[in-house]
């Protein structure tokens, strides 16, 4: 823990977010701290103004009787005043608990009850309604404040306030309560809780992750220095406030570094706002980058032939040269000139349209990103990198340093973080950002974090020889062993398959078997538009999925995946020997997927046991009947004869180290 102690010592008085705010108000007083687009115009607040607003709000909270150690729930979309509410709550010694705004009332009830929130700060009427509904069961809530006045006139205001009124009362109470507020703010130490975030938890009830000031501030300091963030940087805060990433980026790093947080006008205007702001530091899950790329490609299809030709020519060129330039590798003078020309004609305008022109650092995380998508942005000269993290680590576990960026790793351990791989393959970490505990859940805390501070991530991975980068292969509980004892990581292979636009879903089987087989779902939009272009008639998913040419294409994809899997010494056993294209799309209505579109492996395995047996038995075709549920709840039967195919596998001999 020595790194933690030295880090703490270096922080001096900066041991809470309000303390950082006070420093910023002095040091960067006239620079923009927050911007929000409202009524069509970007409204800005400087650090000095922010400091005054937060102080007024904190005094207002004192007037309302907020106590030290109270939990204050905050629900709403990203808006400056809600961020201020978090810092104001910290200033009076309370603990902010941001909640997901799209949570249904029941989920909200659980969390509000669990943390015993006395105060709830709501964004608008919709959130207030939910809280009022919950209040019948959850008795701890005493005061509600809301930000948007609209539609609120008729409500009973005996324990409800407009946030603006709270601040007005706070300003009036400066003389009376100012000293008390100063006392409480200066009493904060690194050990005080900074924030409590509930993990959405795919299984069981959400857990409240308690993060201390030390966790947040040391992590923010380390990660800001890692990426050389500086005052004057701009971010767009559009991801849920209840998510740890948003807290680190828009509060932790923003307050540590003193950069500006921009809040979009509404969820739908995000892309326009992105373009208007032109952030220099940006985070988005792979899905967002994927959607952006699809939009670009669709628009290019509609462009004039000349433009299309120029676009494709320069994009092809950029794919070779762009990443090299970004990584600072040697590039010939001719190529440099041509890249410059491409920048003038294609890359520059494109980045401008996407709002990514000024980006110095961009991150993606959460799930695997397709190499083509990743390379597209890198070849444009956008410094897109990957990181690996979780709430319990205050985000950062590993991240990619500039110049060492690749699509298939998640980088090296972040500064101050130790990572080790257990014998089971599970990744463990220990860092200054490691959470204090799960709130009111000593049992879970003990099973996740051992006495020495090591935390189990639940993910399996390994360090690549040579580069020292971590690679995550799968959830630890899904990783198994093949019959010959080699590693079986189905999701690793499935992700590679899913990167092909033609493949929507893939399920790989092979645990305790001698070889792997796979079910494939084709992507009806992608394959359908291919069929349309080639004048191939089809009437249903089932018919399209059974076409010989479709199967040929899928077979090519599978073999390409096998080739790439074979290059991986540890995972070469996971090559797909046989596959079939399923006659129906996996569907949440049939219980084959979760509502968030994650495949339920066990259920698929049981339901299609006959198909798996046929694949392993080496048959060429199989007849099957499957029960399906229609959208109106009626049940029906799908009958089909499926073609089973062999895919070429690649021997260990041709395997090269992926780390070359």
């Amino acid at each position: 823990m020595s790194t933690t102690e030295t880090a703490s010592a270096a922080l001096g008085e900066l041991c809470s977010i309000p303390a950082l705010l006070a420093r910023n108000a002095k040091r960067y007083g006239m620079q923009a701290a927050y911007r929000e687009k409202e009524f069509g115009i970007w409204q800005a607040w400087t650090w000095a103004e922010t400091h005054a607003e937060v102080r007024a709000m904190a005094l207002g909270f004192l007037v309302l009787g907020m106590r030290e150690g109270d939990y204050v729930a905050i629900i709403g979309r990203n808006r400056p005043a809600l961020y201020w509410a978090m810092v104001a709550a910290q200033s009076v010694g309370a603990i902010p608990v941001p909640l997901y705004q799209d949570a249904v009332a029941e989920e909200m009830a659980y969390v509000l009850d669990h943390c015993g929130a006395r105060f709830v700060i709501c964004g608008d009427q919709e959130q207030v309604d939910k809280v009022l509904e919950v209040q019948e069961k959850v008795t701890c809530i005493e005061e509600i404040a809301y930000l948007d006045k609209r539609g609120m006139r008729k409500y009973d205001h005996s324990h409800m306030n407009w946030l603006e009124d709270v601040m007005r009362e706070g300003r009036a109470a400066e003389t009376r309560l100012g000293a008390e507020l100063d006392r409480r703010t200066s009493a904060l130490t690194l050990d005080h809780t900074c924030v409590m975030l509930y993990t959405s938890g795919t299984t069981g009830k959400p857990k409240g992750v308690v993060l201390s000031n030390r966790n947040i501030i040391v992590t923010s300091k380390n990660s800001s220095e890692f990426d050389k963030l500086r005052p004057g940087d701009e971010i767009l805060a559009y991801l849920p406030m209840a998510w740890v990433g948003d807290f680190i980026f828009a509060i932790g790093q923003a307050y540590w570094t003193g950069f500006c947080v921009n809040c979009p006008e509404s969820a739908q205007t995000m892309l326009t706002d992105l373009r208007e702001i032109g952030p220099t530091y940006y985070f988005a899950p792979p899905r967002v980058f994927e959607n952006m790329l699809t939009t670009v490609m669709i628009r290019m299809e509609d462009a004039s032939p000349l433009k299309r030709k120029i676009f494709h020519h320069f994009m092809g060129f950029a794919r070779d040269v762009g990443p090299k330039l970004l990584d600072g590798k040697p590039v010939g003078i001719g190529d440099k000139l041509k890249y410059g020309l491409g920048n003038l004609l294609v890359y520059g305008p494109l980045k401008d349209t996407l709002g990514l022109r000024r980006i110095r650092v961009a991150y993606t995380a959460g799930e695997a990103i397709g190499p083509e998508i990743f390379d597209f942005y890198r070849s444009l000269g956008i410094n897109l990198k990957q990181l690996y993290g979780q709430t319990e680590a205050s985000v950062f576990i590993t991240q990619q340093p500039d110049g060492e960026v690749r699509s298939d790793t998640v980088g090296v351990p972040s500064p101050g973080v130790e990572v080790r791989i257990a014998d089971s393959g599970e990744v463990f970490y220990r860092s200054p950002g490691t959470f204090e505990s799960y709130y009111k859940n000593a049992e879970s805390t003990a099973s996740t974090k051992d006495p020495e501070g090591w935390v189990a991530t639940g993910d399996a991975g390994f360090f690549e020889e040579g580069s020292g980068h971590l690679r995550i292969i799968d959830r630890a509980k899904d990783v198994g062993k093949m019959a010959d004892g080699s590693l079986f990581a189905p999701k690793y292979v499935e992700n590679k398959l899913k990167f092909f636009p033609n493949i929507l879903e893939a399920v790989v089987f092979g645990n305790d078997r001698d070889r792997c087989v796979a079910f494939i779902n084709i992507d009806l939009t992608a394959v359908g538009s291919w069929a349309e272009r080639n004048n191939i008639a089809y009437s249903s998913y089932q018919e399209l999925a059974g076409l010989k040419r479709v199967l040929d294409t899928i077979q090519e994809h599978v073999e390409q995946v096998n080739e790439s899997v074979a290059q991986d010494k540890m995972l070469s056993g996971c090559q797909i020997h046989r596959f079939l294209v399923l006659h129906k799309e996996l569907d949440a209505d049939d219980g084959e997927m979760t509502r968030t579109r994650k495949v339920r492996r066990r259920i698929v395995e049981d339901k299609f046991a006959d198909l798996i047996d046929a694949l392993y038995a080496g048959k060429d075709s199989v007849y099957t009947e499957t029960e399906v549920t229609y959208e109106d709840g009626r049940k029906g039967k799908l009958k089909a004869t499926l073609e089973l195919r062999d895919a070429k596998v690649f021997g260990q001999t041709s395997a090269r180290m992926a780390a070359e």
Binding site: G40, I41, K154, S266
Partner: protein
Amino acid sequence: MLDTQSDDGYITADGRKIGGVAMEMRNITLRFGGVVAIKDISFDIRWGEIRTIIGPNGAGKSSMLNVISGFYHPQEGEVIYKGYKRPKMKPYQVARQGIARTFQNIALFEGMSVLDNIMTGRMHHMKANMLQQALWWGKAQREEDENRAQVEKIIDFLEIQHIRKTPVARLPYGLKKRVELARALAAEPSILLLDEPMAGMNVEEKEDMCRFILDVNDEFGTTTVLIEHDMGVVMDLSDRVVVMDYGKKIGDGTPDEVRNNEDVIRAYLGVAHD
């Protein structure tokens, strides 16, 4: 000033205060040649209420709305608006009397952006002359700023920020309806007329529209008169309902009163007229 029923209104079930009479229809009869569209109808509209006109197809609802707006001038009877008998008016006078409307068939400028469309609703708030407008000078500039600020408030209120700069032609039906409402609101009307605001909408769009109508009434206190087919919507939304059939008024009262009215039930179940 003519005498109107000068009582002080009433309190609705959900506690809103409804004011005195804003407009009174007295024995209105409207003819198109030999066709009698409206026959001897009388009712009133009070400040702050949501007043609905319902009736089967061809009952004369839209004609009634046009009489209210002043676009049609009835052959018989009189309209008392803000305490004065209303004379026959020219269209621009109609527009300036503080009554704004939306149309059954959307009547927006398809090629213009949402913002520009809504700005047209502010037209009669612009007093600068042509020279000032052309030179973007003095009053013209000041007015544009004020009007834009007002329009932005409405855009924010109706949650259409994301389509601010989108040409109207590219919008789906439900959003176009909302833009039309926005344009009507931009005129800051004292009476807002909505001609079948939910026609052709799906359930979600209807719910949104309902909420906006209620919010507008709540927030700006706008008196709203609407024509609607969807009975569920009417009953939830309205303070008082006028029922028309074949140009005649067959019912008038709160939704509950109307629902139990024998004549209304007969008209809606389609009993033969002889």
